[in-house]
Symmetry: C2
Subunit: 304 residues, 2 copies
């Protein structure tokens, strides 16, 4: 299987604690690293994770609350000190440029690379990134300021060659990529060998959705349908539904309900309020609604 992993760098809510950094994670798709949110301390956490800084070319920030973006300037400075030359793309809602361009101009003078800032319209679903391996869509979230999640969808993978069949028909190497892509093969005598004889099905494509910070937004369930792993904030316990509504956050029960409505395969909760000492209680509340739930945790790596 090609690599599709999520590494949690931080999963605390606004107040960092001795146990939690604020929100940041790395989505590693075939050694391309996508940084999702960029909290204070993200560069220290990246060092600890031993992930390669230079494999990060795209940073996706959900919204501009400090606990999701204050690590950006330090990270850019460090990229510069490490001799980076390739363009860095940063995606976030308004007013990304107004807020960060002056800081980049001041702190990162003489950068050897370009920082391209992309402002996102968080009100709609939109594919904002696409390469050979993945598409990344925005997920409209409901928070106090413009905010979106990100949905990573792996692109269809090549079918698996049946080596012995290929050899038996003596098929030249130059046809292999087309056959992996699904094409049949025509023998010199005109006989057509259907692709299903030559290959086994491709691995199923995988998907990952990141939803933080948001109040309960069930209209997103359609977009998240059948997602392999849903990261959803669960800032509060279920008895704090009023507070969570007031602060535009979700409870455990609401996060689990989103996983159920989306028919997600697995739910990972995070953005834990510093008030909770025992996060197992949050986990158990989720499991009442959605059994296959796990807790986010710094340095945890989930392989899809």
């Amino acid at each position: 299987m090609e690599k599709f992993e999520i590494t949690i760098l931080g999963c605390g809510a606004a107040l960092p604690t001795p146990h939690h950094f604020c929100s940041s994670q790395i989505v590693n798709i075939r050694e391309k690293l996508f940084l999702v949110d960029c909290a204070e301390g993200v560069q220290m956490q990246l060092r600890r994770s031993r992930l390669k800084f230079s494999n990060i070319n795209n940073i996706f920030i959900s919204h501009l609350h400090g606990d999701h973006c204050l690590g950006l300037i330090g990270l850019i400075s460090t990229f510069s000190l490490l001799g980076r030359t390739s363009t860095l793309h940063v995606w976030a809602p308004n007013p990304l440029k107004e807020l960060f361009q002056p800081q980049i101009d001041f702190h990162c003078q003489g950068l050897g690379f370009t920082v391209q800032l992309h402002e996102i319209d968080t009100r709609k679903r939109d594919i904002i990134f696409e390469d050979r391996s993945v598409t990344i869509e925005t997920i409209p979230l409901k928070h106090r300021i413009p905010c979106c999640g990100y949905l990573f969808r792996e692109k269809p993978l090549p079918r698996h060659i049946k080596r012995d069949v290929i050899d038996a028909y003596n098929i030249p190497t130059c046809y292999i990529n087309n056959i992996k892509a699904g094409m049949d093969f025509t023998l010199p005598d005109g006989e057509i060998i259907p692709n299903s004889i030559l290959t086994n099905p491709a691995d199923p494509t995988r998907s990952y959705a990141y939803c933080s910070d948001t109040m309960f937004a069930p209209t997103n369930a359609e977009q998240l349908h059948n997602v392999d792993l849903l990261y959803h904030e669960a800032t509060f316990k279920k008895d704090q539904e009023l507070l969570s509504k007031k602060t535009f956050h979700s409870t455990t029960q609401q996060a689990a309900e989103m996983a159920r409505l989306s028919n997600a395969k697995q739910l990972m909760i995070g953005h834990f309020s510093a008030r909770y000492k025992n996060e197992e209680e949050l986990l158990n509340e989720c499991k009442e609604t959605f059994q296959n739930t796990i807790l986010a945790e710094e340095n945890k790596c989930i392989k899809l």
Copy 2:
């Protein structure tokens, strides 16, 4: 002895590593906490130190390179979430206001307290802070951008009452503070009891100097004369004198020479370049010139 302690929160140079946060430390003078430099991650380090956030009312930033100031906005946000109401004073060179006021306005909306930004002229020595316990002076440093160190001088302490003598002369309590301050006491019959009979000398006053980042600046030795503890950056080993000059930093040998010229009682070096794995080698180089040298280290607390 009244408390006068320095706690190191971070002592790495520009690149944070798994071992070092960037520059920040707390000077604790009688439970008033002065934060000196304010690097990314300072609020996490403060949590670990178990020092009381609410006892910090003054932050002194040496200069506006990211590794000395990028923790400021996160810290102010956290103060706000913790319900702070008292004014926070932040001291730093130009362009402190231009750089940080827009960020405070954006990230810290609805603050329950005032953040007062004070811009410092780093070209001259100046007493910028004074209260009952301490004066704080700027130390002009030589770096690529305006930069100053800070010299904390304890104010003269009260003399120690000889309780038995006071009792023997039956001196009323209302005179005690004056006697501690050095006054003689006149008995009802006109006899004058000299203060030296009534008290023992006060504890000697203590001083702490913070010098980071700077190239070798021997003209500061006069200001630092007899300082109890000199923190001085030693970014490079002594064989990197050219590089240190080019980058406006100091070598181990230069830091030690500053301690020797200043007749400091003790030297603590920090701002270690990430290139050095074994900092004992830096220490040993300093000791060749100035024996009483120690290494800064995260969470180390030095009592003066």
